[in-house]
């Protein structure tokens, strides 16, 4: 399941970043805390639908849809 599928208020655990995402973009996501095992929640959605603000590790990071699509998650039970 992808991060972009997560709905408002939902929480999930990150399982990895897509192989398609490499280089600077991948590193940036990792550095910001989007590593395997991190708990992430959809906190806010922009009025125009894009980007979405995700809450993780006490910070709020907004990503565009095309980036969130490349992050894999598993829903928390």
């Amino acid at each position: 399941m992808k991060l972009s599928d997560l709905k408002y208020g939902e929480t999930a655990r990150i399982s990895g970043i897509s192989e398609q995402c490499q280089g600077e973009a991948r590193r940036r996501l990792l550095d910001l805390g989007f590593v395997r095992g991190t708990i992430v929640t959809v906190q806010n959605i922009s009025p125009l639908g894009n980007p979405v603000a995700y809450s993780l590790r006490d910070t709020l990071i907004a990503l565009r849809h095309e980036q969130a699509e490349q992050i894999f998650i598993e829903l928390e039970e």
Binding site: G23, E24, R27, R28, D31, L32, G33, R57, D58, T59
Partner: protein, 250 residues
């Protein structure tokens, strides 16, 4: 004091000319690092007495500033590094920051962190601890942390990190004396640190780092940050390779 500063590409002549002084005029060089939006600029301003505007906007501080201050009987040059989330990437800001800490060999490195949101801030801090031993964690924005109900046991934190931890609220000038004293003591080698080394790297990467790091220490016995160099070599960092070949490391 630090001849390396004169050749470092980061140390622009114009920057120095503006301040009208040379690095050699100071007793110690202090680097200021930290995530964006941690009040790093406020710390800078409070230490140096400058009045540059700072804002609550991540990554706003631009081309870095230099300032100076004196404490007790010594003078310190303070270099404000770009705010970065990490030192491992290829962005120019991160390059500048890590090159300065590694090659510039500042006498003290201050890592500014947001006390209320420590976890992400530690990413940078732990990396810095792989490069230099002489560091202090400035736990800033303590007032904000209190407002959010966050309490930090700075003693345990200092023990875990192996470096001094100074809680501050730079914008009300709280804790700054403590910070100055710690900087002084670190520079004068009155404090000896045992910085935390990153432990939990997994798999092949960990083995590779270990292997290379050992080989490096065999070749250059005095090299303090062999693990960091190993990580950079695995990254293919050309400036490190060149530096090794030119004998500028170890």
């Amino acid at each position: 004091m630090n001849e390396i500063c004169n050749t470092c590409k980061y140390n622009t002549a114009s920057g120095l000319k503006k301040l009208g002084e040379k690095v050699t005029d100071y007793d110690y060089v202090v680097a200021l690092a930290g995530n964006p939006n941690t009040g790093k600029s406020t710390v800078f301003n409070t230490l140096t007495g400058l009045r540059q505007h700072t804002g609550n906007w991540p990554g706003k501080t631009v081309a870095t500033a230099m300032g100076s201050f004196s404490y007790l009987d010594k003078t310190f040059k303070l270099v404000d590094l770009p705010g970065t989330y990490s030192l491992l990437s290829t962005s120019e800001d991160e390059e500048i920051a890590r090159d300065f800490i590694l090659f510039g060999k500042p006498d003290v490195t201050i890592v500014v962190a947001d006390a209320g949101r420590l976890e992400r801030n530690l990413n940078l801090a732990l990396q810095i601890l792989e490069i230099t031993d002489k560091a202090v964690l400035c736990l800033n924005l303590m007032d904000e942390a209190a407002r959010h109900g966050v309490e930090v046991d700075d003693r345990t934190l200092a023990r875990d990190l192996g470096i001094p931890v100074v809680p501050t609220t730079a914008r009300s000038n709280k804790g700054m004396d403590n910070l100055l004293q710690t900087i002084y003591d670190l520079a004068e080698n009155k404090i000896v640190t045992q910085p935390h080394r990153i432990k939990n790297v997994l798999g092949e990467t960990a083995t590779a780092i270990e292997k290379l790091s050992n080989k490096l220490t065999d070749l250059y016995p005095g090299l303090p940050n062999s693990r960091w160099i190993a990580m950079r070599l695995l990254e293919g960092d050309t400036s490190i390779i060149t530096a090794l070949k030119e004998g500028r490391l170890g």
